[in-house]
């Protein structure tokens, strides 16, 4: 049967969706089957042609124009086809809007997996199972890295205590409760479970007790609850990996031996510490290495993202070598690396990293759920009603009890207490997922394995389907606080910093060393030593507020580029501009300055000579209102142009100000340094007057300064918006920047521009 490309121009999304589904199901089935001689592959290149050519003279066979050799590419072909299937499914779900609002994506993907598995089984083939090695080495790391790299640090560290308690104590409680109770259940006479001993039950308990990060991410991503709850559940799912690893190995070792002594239990505790701290240490080391490497990549920007990925993956693998917690290692690596790497790499690399991580984690997640569905159909099952039902019930009960009990204790130590609603969401969000399945799959004990696997799958299905589907209406019903959508403003950032210092100060006055004190100390250590080591160039001493401000400027510049023209304004539609907030001079009149004619001519000549492109027209004074040449996507150019517009406005404003202002000391200069930093020299505006002398600048800049024309020195020089330019975007920008010298900052709005107010400075 031929594989048709699904037609794109079909009538209606539902038709497209179902066509996609069926065609790809067929395609994947076809790939799984092995005897398929009628498969046409018209695009095949046959390098064997040449060989046949030489042989054709010897043999009398007809020359094969078209040959078929599927085995050659079978493995990559199948893998690609599966991935393609997964992604087309994902695409399909979003085209069908109604379904994706009600059912979370993970459920849909599992259903698709079930379908595919069913079809494969129906035609008698052997379906691929979610191989543990595949899962742990290839599918899981991208998801965890994505989570770890973009982990919101502030809420995570603020709630670290709570998260750790839930992760460690909560998981231990779950494991022992479920294990113990299941052992009790197994003792029940009629259940035919007599052969299950305590250790096996505990092993089972430890597998099933861990909250799964993949499932949590998949579901919580769509419900947008507030940051606190999200980080609590998600952080718990990440950090409980260490506990799971230790318990699993402990019980697996001893299920062969038969008993566990107290000594072993103590060793288990030690092992836990080693596993978790060791994992974090390994991750941190690789993180620092990655950050250090990124310091030197300014000449090879293209491979920067690869460093991030590879160091992180190595961290994971290295931790797995020693049976340390790979997940914690990966998280530690991402967290450690990120602030320094982001300061060093170019903007494009940053975007690349972000998108690649999102892409890989998305693919992984999709594949995991589909394979989970397929494995359900494929795997050998041993269904035991008692066992399964009790497992599900006990999991729920233990989770609820655990959360309530722990919250009661935790609230004594928390400032912002967890309310009952919060507790409910935390308990309800404890989803199990593929990690439990894979761990179960790794079990070597065959008789119990099938029963355990069946129970695990049931629990996973229950949590993902029932809890996953109902959590969204419940969140709305309980009116749980949602994530605030607004982006961070500069005011919030200023005040967050201000608050940090204020609270540290108050703590110092009170005389006790609290959180803020230690955080402040850590920050200072970071700034003094670590940043200098790991961040290249000038940015190592850049304070956080300035980085934030630069990032914001970048974002706005990007927005302007993307919006393409002034017709589509960014979100804040406001006609307020810098002009409205600048304090005007004591006399607000627009008197024509009495500068001499010759001076005027001089200024005008210089301005005109250095004008680059005057395609912009000043229509209003909003900083968002800017005509941009859509052909030009050079961001720095845009930023610079925006600055120039500002300067134009400023300049015209100043030239309409009474003459006495222009006698001020002559120091308005802007110069560009090779590392794209703009230093602003300013005078009277600063109330402290500290910046009234031109600051000595690095040697690069001096040469530029000396070339500047003398004319605009006295007055009339615009006050540039001082912007320290962010991390160097691309080396090719630098050349351009060099050319856009000082003098070009002064631009001529033109003699006969809009008659309204500011822009004309000639009569």
């Amino acid at each position: 049967m031929a594989v048709l490309r699904p037609g794109r121009g079909s009538s209606g999304p539902r038709l497209t969706g179902s066509v996609c589904v069926w065609l790809l199901v067929l395609a994947s089935v076809a790939s799984a089957s092995r005897d398929n001689e009628t498969w046409r592959n018209p695009a095949r290149e046959t390098p064997e042609d040449s060989r046949h050519q030489t042989n054709s003279s010897a043999h009398r066979k007809a020359f094969p124009v078209l040959s078929f050799n599927y085995d050659h590419v079978r493995k990559p072909f199948e893998i690609s086809l599966w991935i393609l299937l997964a992604l087309l499914m994902k695409l399909g779900f979003h085209i069908i809007p109604r379904v994706s609002n009600v059912v979370p994506e993970s459920c849909l993907l599992i259903v698709v997996g079930l379908l595919v598995g069913g079809i494969i089984k129906a035609i008698g083939e052997e379906a691929p199972v979610l191989d543990s090695k595949l899962f742990f080495l290839y599918l899981l790391p991208p998801i965890i890295l994505d989570a770890g790299y973009f982990l919101p640090i502030r809420p995570f560290t603020e709630n670290m205590g709570t998260i750790l308690v839930f992760a460690v104590v909560g998981t231990l409680w779950n494991a022992f409760f479920v294990g113990g109770m299941m052992y009790g259940v197994c003792r029940i006479e009629g259940a035919q479970l007599g052969s299950v001993d305590l250790l096996s039950c505990l092993l089972f308990g430890s597998i099933i007790s861990a909250v799964d990060p993949v499932a949590v991410l998949a579901v919580f991503e769509e419900i947008h609850i507030n940051e606190l709850l999200h980080i609590l559940v998600f952080g718990e799912s990440l950090l409980n990996d260490a506990v799971t690893v230790v318990l699993y190995h402990l019980f697996e070792e001893f299920s062969h031996a038969g008993t566990v002594t107290v000594g072993d239990a103590l060793l288990g505790v030690v092992c836990f510490l080693v596993v978790s701290l060791g994992g974090v240490l390994v991750g941190a080391i690789y993180g620092i290495l990655g950050a250090f490497t990124s310091r030197f990549t300014s000449h090879t920007r293209v491979i920067e993202p690869l460093f991030v990925f590879l160091y992180s993956y190595m961290a994971y693998l290295s931790a797995e070598v020693f049976h340390l917690s790979g997940i914690m290692s990966l998280i530690a690596c991402g967290v450690m690396m990120r602030p320094y790497v982001e300061a060093n790499i170019s903007h494009k690399s940053y975007t690349t990293i972000k998108y690649f991580l999102k892409m890989w984690s998305s693919v992984s997640e999709t594949l995991i759920f589909i394979f989970l569905g397929v494995s359900t159909v494929a795997g050998p099952h041993a269904w035991n009603w008692t066992f399964v039902i009790f497992t599900v019930i006990l999991c729920l009960v233990s989770r609820v009890l655990g959360v309530i009990g722990l919250t009661y204790i935790i609230n004594k130590f928390r400032i912002v207490k967890l309310t009952k609603k919060d507790q409910f969401i935390v308990a309800y969000g404890g989803l199990r997922g593929a990690i439990a399945f894979s761990l179960g799959f790794l079990l070597t004990n065959n008789e119990m394995k099938n029963m355990f696997l069946t129970a695990i799958i049931t629990v996973i299905f229950f949590t993902v389907f029932v809890q996953g589907m109902t959590i969204r209406p419940l969140v709305e019903l309980l009116a749980v606080k949602r994530k605030k959508e607004s982006k961070r403003s500069i005011n919030e950032e200023i005040h967050t910093q201000f608050l940090d210092h204020l609270l540290t100060g108050i703590e110092d006055i009170c005389g006790h060393y609290g959180h803020h004190h230690w955080k402040d100390k850590l920050n200072r250590f970071n700034k003094a030593y670590v940043k200098r080591l790991l961040i290249a160039g000038e940015r190592s001493t850049e304070p956080q507020l300035i980085s934030f401000y630069n990032k914001m400027e970048m974002k706005q510049a990007m927005m302007l580029v993307e919006s393409g023209s002034a017709a589509k304004l960014p979100t804040i539609v406001s006609s307020v501009s810098m002009q409205n907030i600048q304090p005007k001079g004591p006399a607000r009149r627009r008197a024509i300055p009495s500068i001499s004619k010759s001076r005027e001519e001089e200024i005008r000549k210089i301005l005109r000579a250095n004008l680059q492109k005057t395609r912009q027209r000043l229509r209003s004074y909003s900083r968002h209102d800017l005509l941009i040449d859509p052909l030009e996507d050079n961001v720095s150019e845009i930023r610079f142009r925006r600055q120039r517009v500002e300067m134009e406005r400023r300049m015209s404003h100043y030239l309409t100000v009474p003459a006495n202002r222009q006698e001020t000391p002559p120091v308005r200069k802007v110069c560009f340094e090779s590392e794209n930093q703009v230093y602003m020299y300013d005078d009277s505006e600063s109330p402290t007057g500290r910046a009234s002398q031109p600051q000595p600048s690095p040697p690069d800049a001096v040469s530029l300064l000396s070339e500047s024309p003398r004319g605009p020195d006295q007055g009339g020089a615009p006050r540039a918006k001082g912007n320290a330019q962010p991390r160097a975007k691309a080396p090719d920008d630098q050349e351009e920047q060099e050319q856009l010298k000082l003098s070009r900052c002064l631009s001529d709005p033109g003699p006969n521009k809009d008659g309204e107010g500011n822009s004309s400075f000639l009569s």
Binding site: N411, I415, V416, K417, T419, K484, S486, S489, I490, N491, E492, I494, Q497, F498, L499, H501, L502, L503, T504, G505, I506, E507, D508, I509, C510, G511, H512, Y513, H517, R524, T541, E542, L545, I546, Y549, V573, S574, S575, V576, S577, M578, Q579, N580, I581, P583, K584, S620, R623, Y681, D682, S686, P687, T688, R690, Q695, G722, N723, A724, E756, N758
Partner: protein
Amino acid sequence: MGASQTRSEHKYQDLMDKTGFSLEQIKNLHNRFQQLSGNEETIRRENLDNIPALAKNPIRKQIIGAFFDKRNQHQQEVGSFEEISFEQFLMVMSHFRPPTLKTTEEEKESMRKEKLRFLFNMHDTDNDGTITLVEYRKVVEELLSKSGAIGQEVAKAIADAAMLEVASTNVPHMAPDDFYEGITFEHFEQILNGLEMESRMHIRFLDVDTTTVRCGRSTS
């Protein structure tokens, strides 16, 4: 001994009602107060200046100023004190108490307003009810004061951008000739709404006396 104890408890009761601290916390703070003041009844700016840990804080002048600011005493007076008593010290400290599980929504609202008012007073140094551009610039400059020359130049731009943001959000349509005087308290509340001040602006007031263990003593 018994009489003086009940008398001090009675005095503390008054303070407890006014500021909301517990008896333990008031006692600890009193010990700290004694330590700072050198066992006198009042403290002056110099006493706070001498705390060594504060030296590295970029906004320490504002913090110390806030203690001596009459506006933070909730008594509708303006100006500043030369020295403050324990009660006034406590009043300022009470701005940093966290909400409890029992705090109702209205109480949280008023707590938030109070804390924002405290911050506003710290910025509005001339007490005209608005934070002007000059004052805001001063704030940002102080914040960046430990960052050298780069900090100073960019501080202006940051303050300008921030002011612009406040103006754009609160008064979106201004004609080119209008002048935005400054950030009023309402606008201030508006822009910091997302930060949830009542949960962020607090420190832990310990119930355990830590002054004997601390080395952050002021020289007296």
